[in-house]
């Protein structure tokens, strides 16, 4: 129903024919074709500023008239140019325009550095969340163009193109991002600047964020505790919505995505405007999918539904401004019918079964219906933020966030009378408050000092009839940090420190249903030191050593008994200490007109690493024998290498390669850790199709992904040996039609081109089924 409502409203607006002034972040690429012979030269480059690379900067050539914008990394390129002299104009809101003349013989590489017009005053350049943490921390981003090519998946799937990022899947519909081998509550997700709080300790609890709200998704792969607080051991994922409009006019977008596998349809639209000094935006997404299928059989009960919407209003002036945002994410996800296994007998049967055997109420066929086991989640986010010029002191920003997360998990019940009663019913309310003061630069020294606070209440809604997995609890935490940067033209040094305090009280029932109220206090000091060197405008290097911490999560402290979702008995320990991580991350970047290369090498030392220790023999319950795991602590070491390469093989063809490897070890027990990503490499060939018949930005690319078999694992920590390695192929193509000030883009993809039957080590349901088969995806993006 909601889909139709969105269509109707947006269609009406199109008919009204209001041509709007473009948002600074909207895309307009006008390319006039110069078809003269001998014109195969190119101009390429990168635009940076004191705060790192500048995406969405406008680059214009005066004669002939060509225009483009930089991508998330600040790169741009023009090709099929004739040798000669060019006037180049670079502009970006809030920075001084640069215009210069240059001579082109065959290829030209430009490194452009823009300066902010005025440091903190004058132009109203407040952005909703300026996540640029300085040049020392590399934020690998996917900007709007790249995101629009891959719309329709969940948040983790949207991030899969970033090297060093993997997916931890629980069946085909649930995925969580892994950064450098770490996931769940070792990765912090900032949703519109607010730390996402929603039972993230569960490996089958996917982040409750709609990727359609973002105009940019960034990943910071270093430990970033000093700036963001606890949990950022592996890295930070930053979800950035578009800025509110600053100029009158109505703009919007409409996205339609259709997928053959699962017959999934997604519709998302947004509308933004500006009136009397107030900018606003509304956005909504609806998604519906049914049973997915592997090359040989259907995956029963893998449908999903999602309805999300958000709205924001803001008022900005030079000296102050504020915004209010509200977003709601809600989803119902089916859990694979054959994955809900009972005991070790059933597990062994499932492991040697060539095809899944479903309970009698499921069929090996397509349906949109979702039955138990299933998850039903709703997440609300209310955010109020503002900024204030404090005169000589600097700029003050503050943000308040209120999150309400409701998670209901429905299981197989003994009696059908209870099928509609949740087996897990949790409500989590979180308040966060952050106040940051960026002081006025003192010479080359720029920095900020900040305070942050969090208050959280977790409540089990009574009536499940099942002993809760995590108890009711209340937690409060506070932190104070200081970060200073010494910024020179080709060199930047950053130093920071932070103190955190966390308090936790739980209302927990012991085995005899007696109520206990254990209390916990955690303190931590984190630090960061890093540097950025620019040897030339083609080569730069950055290095960062930072500490991060994580207090033990409620499931790690309090688990006691059968965890139905994983069919194992898990026992927590109340004496667990916080994890302490030290991550040293180094990145080198090289660009020239033909080659773009980036490599990251890191080492992460995590003391008091909390993990599930298998215990033999299995426990005999009335349901049968179940494996037993105890939460324990050890010292772990992670290290790895990821890299990407792009080589221009000609004026219209380029080759891309991406690779990553992660090594992890439990050094106290000289053992391997489970669920560590295996080595992988991606190769791709992209052809930039010449503009014809009015279309532009046309491309065709073929990619292959090769994943190695996991050989570093401990037999008793896993139910089955890891699956074999595999190579899978994908095809992507697309083009765009400018329609006056509007634009229509079409993208077509075929994933798993060869319909390969394979299993992935990082899918927790690999014991039961293969991965999904071939999928045809069509995406339509309409911008107005």
């Amino acid at each position: 129903m909601l889909h139709l409502l969105i269509f109707a409203t947006l269609f009406q607006l199109l008919l009204v024919q209001r041509f709007a002034a473009l948002l600074i972040l909207s895309l307009t690429v006008n390319q006039v074709l110069a078809q003269s012979p001998g014109c195969h030269c190119s101009i390429e480059g990168k635009v940076t500023s004191a705060n790192g690379s500048l995406g969405q900067a406008s680059i214009r050539l005066i004669t002939p008239k060509r225009q483009t914008i930089t991508n998330g990394e600040g790169f741009f390129s023009f090709d099929r140019l004739c040798p000669g002299e060019y006037e180049v104009l670079i502009r970006y809101q809030g920075y001084t325009d640069q215009q210069f003349r240059c001579k082109l013989d065959s290829g030209l590489h430009l490194a452009i550095r823009l300066e902010e017009t005025t440091l903190l005053l004058e132009t109203v350049t407040v952005q909703a969340q300026r996540e640029a943490a300085g040049a020392v921390h590399l934020a690998t981003s996917l900007d709007k163009t790249e995101l629009d090519k891959a719309r329709g998946g969940n948040l983790a799937e949207s991030l899969r193109d970033i090297t060093g990022v993997n997916l931890l899947q629980t069946g085909p519909t649930i995925a969580k991002p892994i950064i450098h081998g770490l996931h769940s509550n070792r990765v912090l997700i900032l949703n519109n600047g607010i730390r996402q709080e929603g039972q993230q300790w569960g490996s089958e609890h996917a982040p409750e964020i709609d990727p359609f709200i973002a105009t940019k998704l960034s990943v910071i792969k270093g430990a970033a505790a000093v700036r963001y607080g606890s949990d950022a051991l592996g890295g930070v994922i930053i979800v950035t919505p578009p800025d509110l409009p600053r100029a009158p006019g109505l703009t919007g977008e409409l996205h339609l995505v259709g997928q053959s596998n699962g017959r999934q349809g997604t519709a998302s639209g947004s509308l933004a405007g500006y009136a009397r000094g107030i900018g606003w935006r509304v956005q909504a997404t609806g998604k519906r999918g049914g049973n997915l299928h592997t090359p040989q059989y259907f995956l029963a009960n893998t449908g999903l539904r999602e309805v999300n919407f958000s709205g924001a209003v803001g008022y900005h002036r030079e000296k102050f401004g504020g915004e209010i945002f509200y977003g709601r994410f809600s989803t119902e996800i089916g859990i694979l019918a054959s994955a809900h296994i009972g005991n070790l007998t059933d597990l062994n049967f499932a492991l040697q079964s060539p095809r899944p055997v479903y309970p009698v109420r499921f069929n090996d066929e397509f349906t949109y219906a979702i039955q138990s086991p299933r998850q039903k989640i709703a997440h609300h986010l209310l955010k109020a933020n503002g900024h204030l010029q404090m005169g000589q002191m600097g700029k003050l920003t503050f943000q308040y966030g209120l999150q309400a997360n409701s998670r209901r998990e429905f299981d197989q019940r003994r009696s059908s009378a209870a099928t509609d009663r949740a087996a897990l019913d949790l409500q989590l309310i979180t308040h966060t408050l952050d106040v940051v003061l960026e002081h006025r630069p003192i010479g080359p020294l720029q920095g900020s000092v900040g305070l942050s606070g969090l208050f959280q209440d977790n409540h089990n809604v009574p009536g499940t009839g099942i002993r809760p997995l995590v108890p009711d609890y209340r937690a409060g935490s506070g932190g104070i940090f200081v970060i200073e940067k010494w910024i020179k033209n080709t060199f930047e040094l950053e130093v920071g420190a932070r103190y955190d305090y966390r308090h936790l009280t739980a209302w927990r029932f012991d085995r005899n249903d007696q109520l206990t109220r254990p209390d916990f206090n955690f303190h931590n000091v984190s630090g960061t030191v890093g540097a950025y060197f620019e040897w030339s405008d083609q080569l730069n290097f950055r290095s960062n050593l930072a500490s991060a911490w994580r207090a033990p999560a409620p499931n790690e402290l309090f688990s006691e008994g059968l965890h139905h979702g994983v069919a194992a008995l898990e026992f927590g320990r109340a004496d667990l200490r916080p994890e302490q991580a030290y991550k040293w991350i180094n990145t080198i970047q090289y660009t020239n007109p033909k080659i773009r290369f980036e490599a990251t090498l890191y080492y992460n030392k995590i003391d008091n690493y909390i993990y599930l220790n298998p215990q033999l023999p299995p426990e005999l319950t009335i349901r049968g024998a179940f494996p037993v795991f105890n939460y324990d602590q050890t010292n772990a070491r992670f290290w790895g290498l990821d890299g990407s390469l792009r080589v221009n093989l000609g004026p219209a063809v380029y080759y891309t390669a991406k690779g990553a490897m992660v090594r992890a070890r439990d050094v106290s027990h000289q053992a391997y850790l489970p669920w560590i990503p295996t080595d992988r490499i991606e190769n791709g060939l992209t052809w930039r199709v010449p503009n014809r018949l009015g279309w532009q930005d046309a491309y065709l690319s073929v990619n292959s992904l090769s994943v190695a078999r996991q050989r570093r694992y401990e037999g008793q920590s896993d139910y089955a040996a890891p699956p074999s390695g595999y190579t899978i192929y994908h095809l992507d193509a697309g083009l765009a039609w400018p329609l006056g000030k509007q634009k229509l883009a079409v993208h077509f993809s075929i994933r798993n081109l060869g319909n390969l039957a394979y299993r992935d080590y990082l899918n927790r349901f690999r014991y039961f089924t293969d991965e999904t088969g071939r999928n045809f995806i069509l995406r339509l993006n309409y911008f107005f």
Binding site: K319, F320, H340, G342, N343, T345, D346, F349, V357, Y358, P359, V360, R361, L388, Q389, M390, G391, L396, F398, Y400, Q412, R413, R414, S415, S416, A418, H431, L433, V435, F455, D457, N460, P462, T464, G465, I466, R467, P468, D472, R474, G476, W507, F509, R511, N512, L515, E560, G561, L562, L569, F571, E619, L620, T621, I622, R623, G624, A625, F626, V628
Partner: protein, 189 residues
């Protein structure tokens, strides 16, 4: 120059935060685990008369904690027994029978009695569900010659009871979930 002082902002925000935390959290009530079954009693009553032999499984504190108590006294060789299964939730002295729930949803439940070695005893069902298929709350077991072995009693839920040739060896192929799986050491004397 702004009219708001930093200190004024800070006080408002901190006070707001304090007010939120001031309300006390009510003590929760323990969850009543009505569906939990933690006791199974299998009573072997000899058809020719005599005292019954009672196999039992009791996990008083649920999964984990203290191990379950399993008892399986010896059976007489070459004897026909009427076997009844009683499922219950036992909490202290309170015993809440769960058999009625199984019978009410008889078409989606079935017990399987797996003797190892298979010649230890012969099993046949004595009850039926609404579709005339067995459930297994009432059974007949005929023991063979003196021997030792094991008996696994399994209760399957949501299985395909119409599965061709459904028996105690191939029941897993009929799909469904295992609600009960208990192994008893059997001595036939």
């Amino acid at each position: 120059m702004t009219t708001f002082k930093f200190s004024q902002w800070a006080m408002t925000l901190i006070l707001g935060g304090v007010l939120f935390t001031a309300c006390n959290k009510k003590d929760p009530e323990p969850e009543n685990e009505q569906e939990e079954i933690n006791s199974m009693v299998v009573t072997f009553s000899p058809t020719g008369g005599g005292s019954p032999v009672v196999f039992s499984f009791l996990d008083a504190d649920g999964p984990g904690g203290l191990p379950a108590v399993i008892a399986a006294p010896a059976l007489r060789a070459n004897t026909t027994y009427n076997v009844g299964v009683a499922l219950a939730k036992v909490k202290g002295a309170a015993v809440e029978s769960k058999n009625a729930e199984i019978t009410a949803e008889g078409t989606v439940h079935q017990f399987f009695f797996v003797f190892n070695p298979t010649g230890l005893a012969q099993h046949t069902y004595s009850d039926t569900d609404a579709s005339n298929r067995p459930i297994g709350l009432a059974n007949r077991v005929v023991t063979g010659a003196a021997a030792t072995g094991a008996l696994r009693v399994i209760l399957r839920h949501e299985l395909n009871k119409a599965f061709a040739g459904l028996n105690a060896t191939n029941y897993l192929q009929a799909g469904g979930e295992t609600d009960i799986e208990v192994s008893f050491n059997v001595a036939v004397q």
